[in-house]
Symmetry: C2
DNA sequence: TTGAAAGGTTTAAAAATTTAAACCCTTTAA
DNA sequence: TTAAAGGGTTTAAATTTTTAAACCTTTCAA
């Protein structure tokens, strides 16, 4: 019952933690607007040091929100939001089913509909 | 364009921040399973001190995830997930539309369908 | 085979979060 | 009008997070 909700909330914890920082949100948006980018490109767009950007990318990687592909000396980071979005959708569905006040969805009898 | 995504990400920041802590998730689940509860009830179910619970409730209130009703000397906290869920849904919709690889939804020509 | 470019890691400091003890303010029952 | 119950706030300590400087590794071009 609420057991499923707990499981889903816990599964989404890393996503919530990762998305709860504006710099990391900005990284995601930059990757969205520019496509895959290497670390130095991101750094130049972000008023953060490279180690800081690198650190946030590590967290984003761990949470599965971005992926990384080595290309020669560069590493191109790109969005991989599919899995996380799916998890959030599931959580939201369960919350809507279990935790939200239900409104009446029954169809009124013919005579009652005007 | 990505301007909308940014706006929605930022709007959801307090929700992400609030949900990124297991104790706060637990409070939400307790309220879900038990209905509205006063602070002491929550504390007794939570291996946390009352000030800590009170603090987390304050954050949950600020993020709009719970509401509070005074009843005599007690304050009953209850879930109010509607607005947050709506915000998350919107964010997810935009992310799905803008940021996820689209799969082909066109209907193949008649001759091509077997 | 050097050297420069790209980028991860270690470290240490600064900032934010989390927590509980101590304290204070209401409300209500005696 | 006290006393006790319920609960916020303040404070200070502990922990975690964030950041950048210094350092190290790998790749590739000269």
């Amino acid at each position: 019952m609420g057991k499923l909700a707990l499981k889903l909330f816990r599964e989404c914890l890393p996503v919530f933690q990762t998305l709860s920082d504006p710099n990391r949100q900005d990284i995601l948006l930059l990757l969205h607007e520019n496509g895959p980018l290497p670390v130095n490109e991101l750094t130049s767009k972000l008023s953060l040091s490279r180690p800081a950007v690198s650190h946030h990318l590590k967290l984003l990687l761990q949470a599965g929100l971005v992926s990384c592909e080595q290309q020669g000396t560069q590493r191109h980071y790109s969005l991989s939001l599919e899995a996380s979005v799916t998890m959030l959708r599931e959580l939201i569905s369960v919350v809507e089913e279990e935790c939200l006040p239900k409104f009446d969805t029954t169809i009124p009898a013919k005579e009652a509909r005007l």
